[in-house]
Subunit: 358 residues, 4 copies
């Protein structure tokens, strides 16, 4: 933790795509972060040159921090982040592919929330509690140049809750098969996102590309780092995704088939006791426990439990036997905190704590 | 169709529990039914003696019919329905068990929406398009007395959509395994039902007893009538039930494992072309087609599609292969029309059309 | 009613902007209209040349009528409606000003739902039950040429409910002052309209331009036709407009100051007994009574009462004395039926019934 | 502040009706209060004897504090609070009248959220920023016995936001007339409160007794303490109350008639600069500023602004001239924080800070 401690100064970071809904979450969470400070904000050319307060349509529940409000937004080009080794990207998928590559080529470490590079073989797709070792791919991207740039990615907002719950089960019992049905909040669609007319008194049983993402990303995250790449986990997954009229919090109905014998109590125990590297390192955004198990029959519920432990906990309930596969349960996680901005910040903290800032 | 045709008079029917939310649906649907007319309304002792308009807290979107408004509500005792051979029960499970038995013992044919007698071996649990032959159990209950009474039941509101979709698949390909996750509307919980505070910006991943009902009822409905009873279908089912903030319409994400080889096109074809006895008999509440298949990727949706064909169609969409079982798809059905009052009325129509009125 | 009767043929009409949400309502309502038939559909250049089913993102609860589905959409130019004397416009305000003028110049009678021409001195702003005589402005626009075109407008969706309730009160007691607070459904904002993220578990106490429209339009509609123009009603109005998370139906809390003495009973009586020219002429879309008074303390409510009388009734409840002005009450009206498409169709019916088709 | 300071111990307090929704809010807010600690919890006889965790159906977003979870719930009788001079009542109106009187007679200072005693001439109805001097009625109730008990009340949840905004206007310009239309969240109705079926995709334009409460309570709170009683403010108020599908936060559309000349700027200035005794005394629950003025046209909105300043700020927006009265604006306040539990705790803090604990 030398950076902050040694010279008493915080690490300057940039936020790319700072005016969108995930970008606003980054601003709000980094505004008083103990390690990082916002040194640059970028957005589209239309916003460049304006003060942030003027460029943004702020929709967060916490007020826009005064000092950030007056920062001048810049165009999304590597020059904008000259002083920032670490860059958080909340860019739209439409531009993220090229922009993030340009920042990495210019020597930045880009922690991205966009889908574009997640499945690139050389790009780590990281949930800090699950596969911190995948960060070794950073070295590969740098090709031996310690001050080189790299792209690191955060998974899709509905994948995260799933893999957090699967990881300890996989370690203990080997997960072979997963069936998951999601009920996803509207904030997952960004801004403007889904029109009110399409979701009030309604649900939409289809989210373009989402089922494929869950299936592919889960196999990569639960995969093993070997030699110079990720060996995907051999897992059969079927996902069905629904958009429901809820503001925040994705709820998943999960069934799993296991290779090893298990019991409801054994599942609960391995879930409850799960802990990872962020917990050992006690980084600022790490929850006390990555998984919370609730025993009440009606839990977890999005409005009641999405904010537990700073919105960073995967909340599990209703663990029981499944007549078709072996066990079934419900998982809730906050899609714009763990599933987006705060999850990506935790990745940034891990990069720094592991001394990978170069 | 002799009753109406021969003497030009409609068949008098009674509604038990007429002031609750399902009872109100019965009133609204029977008010201008071509075969039946409301001759008696019963409710709790508290309401007995009052005019219906005064006893009810009417919450239907159609206005309370004038002539029903002035009928006097009676206590729920067999005497109340003296002139009515056919009786529709919207009674709460708390009293339905005993009351319905009393009406049957007094010689009435009770078509019930309550859960109490559904799994009784001698009581048919009927979806008219699926297992009309199960009505033969009426004879068994009558024990040879053609003017004897009997109880016939309508399934749980989330079971109906499921079995309507499973039946043609079972006939064509033999369904071995079913995984179903439901997203159920609040009207399914009756009145007062679930408090607004528990469901606004929220969902509840648990509905007491619901998963067991879906699993058991499906096996009975898809079972075969043999000799003197129902031989349950050998089906492995796993259900996970959620309450979501939607007024009407239950949506189900279903995966199925089949014994016979099939294709997406073959599934769509057998679903689309499915037709049953009510369609052949053209009874008044029978939809043109019990199953509608929609091809748009975002269909079916509760608000857009729940009322198709008078709320009697099971609307199927997103038929595709499933990596875990064989195929998966989405089913929507209207829980208070097909899933309660209008579904029960269709059973009543079938009883009459089959000449089982005694 | 000679057109339909004499030659047995319906009157061909065009719908401008047929793919938007109000355009879809026009399609759905005109698909089986007894007087009119859809002969032309127009939309933006992007949609021109496609079949309607392909060009539209259909969001109506009733299915898209088959014969309309196959009509080819045309660009929004007067040529498109060559055979249609009568044209219904569901165009966006961004293009309605110029386009509607072009159709009128080409000899069409344009009944518009857009705001652009409503306050033009020569354009009638009509609610058929209130100011059918304002249609005399059509002659003025035609400048003596009986086959000339003209523009006729339908008021804003929240104005209509208000003026329907004010008209009989004004006739009986002279309304001097009005305070109105609206709670408006999301469908009033069109498609895509307001994002779900802005309105779930929320309301927005501001709708750009809406308060000014209510104030100005009410004075024009309640004004008198004199000589060659409309003399606005001398009414002091204050409006406060809110968007609330409801699909359809605008609810208004209204207080009025009256010049003549009155009583709650007298108000109820004049509201109840109100009737207008469409009722006398019995045109197809005319409700039996333009105003329904409900006596239950909790009425009117959008979901329960918006569809009464085909969504064409202004539903009034809670009439009582006001300590600040004289009386207060609640008005509900359906914003996309009476307040948009069906309201405009009623204007079209009135034009024909009055022999103004030229 | 001697109590806590002198002996380092917190003041023991009791919560009456601790298992209801407002009771739970009290528990959650007092669990780590710097001055007070929960020494007793009461509920109905049915819950008495159980541990709190077992007796309560916890619906708060923050977890149930561990030490409170294990406290044993007692019956609601004065003995239960023997050690607690200060008692917070979250009792239902059905029992609050008698119970609170019994506690006061037994020497307790009861700060109540129930409506029963609010309009008693000898009972202060207090908003700490507005009328702290009304607490002098405590002496009257005690009849000279400094250790005697007394009842102090907190206003209705929709009254509070209104009077907070009216107070500075009244001081500066003399408010003569008020028209207010409320849009109230469902949490205001408690638990179970309003059924989901009545409010999804709907609103209810009537809340029994609410309009009368707003009108009467506002006049008392803004009244002057003279000699031995409260002289009510001479204010003409008209209130119209609506329940809307929002979880928390009451929004009010207010128009005011003023005696003195004013301007939009002058109103904004007196609202912005308003401050009261809790701010001078800096008690723990006092917000920095009781009134926040927002300038964006779409503010305030319940979901975005209800939690500002701990849910204790009245948030005002859209101040503008009114054609009917003089000015109009929108006020938002959090109904279960400022409008119930935290508002009552602020009253308790004021009682202690003023040395009225006896």
């Amino acid at each position: 933790m030398s950076d902050v401690a040694s010279n008493g100064r915080k690490i300057p970071v940039a936020i790319l795509g700072a005016t969108g809904s995930v970008g606003q979450r980054f601003v709000s969470l980094l505004a008083d972060h103990p390690w990082f400070e916002i040194a640059a904000l970028t957005a589209s050319d239309r916003s460049a040159g304006k003060e942030y307060a003027e460029a943004v349509g702020w929709v967060q529940e916490s007020p826009l921090p005064d000092d950030v409000a007056r920062q001048v937004v810049q165009a999304t080009e590597p020059d904008a982040a000259r002083e920032c080794r670490l860059v958080f990207s909340a860019l739209d998928a439409g531009v993220a592919g090229t922009c993030e590559r340009a920042f990495a080529d210019a020597g930045h470490l880009v922690v991205s929330n966009a889908r574009n590079h997640r499945m690139d073989p050389s790009v780590p797709l990281v949930v800090p509690e699950i596969n911190p070792d995948h960060l070794a791919l950073i070295e590969l991207q740098r090709g031996g140049n310690p001050s080189g740039g790299a792209i690191v990615t955060n998974p899709n907002c509905s994948t995260i809750g799933l893999v957090l719950a699967l990881k300890p089960l996989h370690d203990a019992f080997v997960v072979k098969t997963v069936n998951v049905v999601t009920m996803q909040a509207v904030s997952g669609a960004g801004l403007p996102g889904i029109p009110a007319m399409q979701i009030l008194d309604n649900l939409v049983p289809y989210i373009p590309g989402e089922e494929e993402k869950i299936e592919a990303e889960s196999r990569k995250i639960l995969g093993r780092f070997v030699d110079d790449g990720i060996l995907e986990c051999e897992l059969t997954i079927s996902a069905q995704c629904n958009r429901v009229p809820i503001v925040d919090g994705h709820t998943l109905c999960v069934s799993v088939g296991l290779e090893q014998p298990a019991s409801v109590e054994a599942l609960r125990e391995v879930l409850r006791s799960f802990s990872g590297e962020p917990q050992r390192l006690r980084t600022p955004s790490a929850p006390d426990r990555p998984i919370l198990c609730l025993d009440e029959p009606g839990a977890p519920q999005p409005r009641l439990h999405r904010n537990l432990d700073g919105g960073m906990a995967a909340v599990v309930g209703r663990i029981r036997r499944c007549p078709v596969l072996d066990f079934k349960f419900v998982v809730l996680s906050h899609n714009t905190l763990r599933g987006a901005a705060r999850g990506a910040i935790l990745v940034g903290e891990l990069i720094r704590a592991r001394g990978l800032m170069g």
